[in-house]
Symmetry: C2
Subunit: 346 residues, 2 copies
DNA sequence: AGTGATGTGGGTAACGTTTTCCAAATGTTT
DNA sequence: AAACATTTGGAAAACGTTACCCACATCACT
């Protein structure tokens, strides 16, 4: 009763069954040149009859594995899940299979995971918000077709897809300014690394905030708390801001969770949102959309980003030496109930 | 400037560099018998110097790939993410790399994904809440070591890890009964398939609910709405329950999202939670824990489940013909603010 | 009829490992 | 010293596929 699994059907079995050579079968499998329609049909039938499926391991040794690896720094982040949806949707009808590597928080784990994907001869890699050094990314991209998502700056080796974080920050500032706010503070993610300072979205958001403030003639109102993109960071940042001589009437948090933490601190200080202080977040996560919270937030179209990444990757797999491209998408502002005009009593 | 990636270092390079045979290197790599400490050291050094990493593709053709595939039906479900954490934590210091296949909702997509993982010669599979027919699961398990998570019932071919859903439901009923509730209703996920009716957690929860009601002498109070495990399903289910002749004083929703939908319907009916109706969910998701919601819910230790699954899988990879095991963990009830005693005014 | 282009099919050598031998060297017991 | 067991190392054959060739047949022009 414990039958030990029959040997797998191989290309040789198919060839024998169809009375052709293995080469012929291989050609049919890859839609390669040199197979007549008649033979194609014969082989297809043999494949169907035997239930043959090619071994990716064997394929990897010579050609492609039809596998695309995606690195996600954090599974619980719904924005990343959207990106993944976009990737799989775009690749849905192709022969490629997407595989995900989990648990890549930190530069070391990230390196391990990327190596693992390369070792498994994946045809292409999508790296979402990687933290590795840029030189390392270039190295990786030279070894295997790569698309980097969510990291600004261009590379000669890999394509990149980003959302315009500067614009996103500007949208928030503009929205708040239109509501009459002048003292608009920002809670940023503290960044030390030089390269990341230029390339990471958090840095771009802070930069965009500054520029937008200046553009609206609010240079003197710029007020920044530098913590981290976490709920605790938001709490701490808001606390700092509230203790300063001039209290902000609005806080632009660099991420939704940060906004949540900030709202906590605001409530603790006996102030109301948006009555006393307006709060805006970034990412338009499920949290922001959730009724009781209803947080004004910047929406990045994750699916769109993922779809673009997949498209670029497939293009590059097809033509490895083509010029690299940088796709930059535009975010939109989703206004909800945490932001209001400054004179609500007016 | 566009250097075309140097050829990968292979086992042959290492062998040459260490002045030994490729066999020797292979032995060292796999900690196999037949390599002296001296040679071991020599080879290790060569590997380090050359930065050699074995090709999983080539390995897959003969031996293991040191890859474990995990199938998740839904990325956004935080409970599944916990399971995954447990798996990776357990496998953290082993040589195994975990890869995830996304987008496996529905029997067809699930089949495709599982085949893809088998084609890639993965050493083992963890299937989380699979919906495939049992015979299919047995077939899969015969082809590759498999552990099924979150599906009751035992198989001669695969190990399984489940949480005791019957107990979970009992915990909820007991809690509500202790609070003085008698008319405790349940919103279940409608199940048609015969086998799944016995094996799926949702069915077990409904069964556990019935049994617990009977055990508490509340057989006549059993009241079930049969919808789906979605927010909409919860809304609809609660609506149905509220329209019935006898209104329940408590609703046990089979999942947290269901509870959320139910609360929506309750609010719409002008009733309060827990003032008029107590509500309990299942899964103890982040949603339940979230302050403003604060939903009483059953907590399954996902990490623990994942860790057990990984342990069983590695054991089975080591010894394919050992007896199958069924691990059943016990859930706990997390009481929050959506359940209260029936005489609050007492 | 002779030449070249094109279409069709297959033989065979990779690809980078592991595995199964086998031989030699060394150690241990009579 | 002979016989046997154990350790150490390597040669060579898989594993299943693709890529690179070459052979043959057919066809269209000179």
């Amino acid at each position: 009763m414990h039958k030990p699994a029959p040997r797998r059907v191989t290309i040789v079995d198919v060839a024998r069954h169809a009375q052709v050579s293995t080469t012929a079968v291989s050609k049919v499998l890859r839609n390669a040149y040199g197979a007549s329609p008649a033979m194609r049909a014969k082989v297809q039938q043999a494949i169907a009859e035997l239930g043959y499926r090619p071994s990716a391991a064997a394929r990897g040794l010579r050609g492609q594995t039809y596998t695309i690896g995606v690195m996600l720094p954090e599974l619980r982040n719904l924005f990343f899940a959207d990106i993944l949806d976009g990737i799989t949707a775009q690749l849905g009808d192709s022969d490629y299979q997407v595989l995900l590597a989990p648990g890549c928080n930190g530069e070391k784990a990230e390196a391990r995971v990327i190596e693992a994907m390369i070792d498994r001869s994946m045809d292409g890699l999508v790296l979402i918000a990687p933290v590795s050094a840029k030189s390392r990314l270039n190295e990786i991209a030279r070894a295997v077709p790569t698309v980097v998502v969510g990291r600004h700056g261009s590379s000669p080796a890999y394509d990149s897809v980003t959302d315009d974080d500067i614009l996103g920050a500007a949208l928030v500032v503009e929205h708040l300014a239109e509501l009459g706010h002048r003292r608009i503070a920002h809670i940023e993610h503290h960044e030390t690394d030089r390269v990341r300072l230029a390339e990471m979205p958090n840095a771009q958001r802070a930069y965009g905030y500054r520029e937008a403030m200046i553009a609206h003639g609010l240079e003197s109102e710029i007020d920044i708390a530098s913590t981290t993109y976490t709920q605790a960071g938001g709490y701490l940042g808001a606390k700092q801001l509230l203790e300063r001589p001039v209290r902000p009437t609005a806080i632009f948090a660099g991420a939704d969770v940060v906004a949540l933490g900030a709202m906590e601190a605001i409530a603790e200080a006996g102030l109301s949102v948006p009555g006393d202080i307006s709060v805006a977040g970034y990412d338009n996560s499920a949290l922001a959309a959730f009724g009781p919270i209803s947080l004004t937030s910047v929406d990045q179209d994750g699916r769109q980003m993922g779809a673009n990444a997949a498209r670029l990757l497939v293009e590059r797999i097809g033509q490895r030496d083509r010029r690299t491209a940088q796709v930059k998408l535009s975010p939109t502002l989703v206004v909800r109930r945490t932001t209001a005009a400054i004179e609500t009593a007016g």
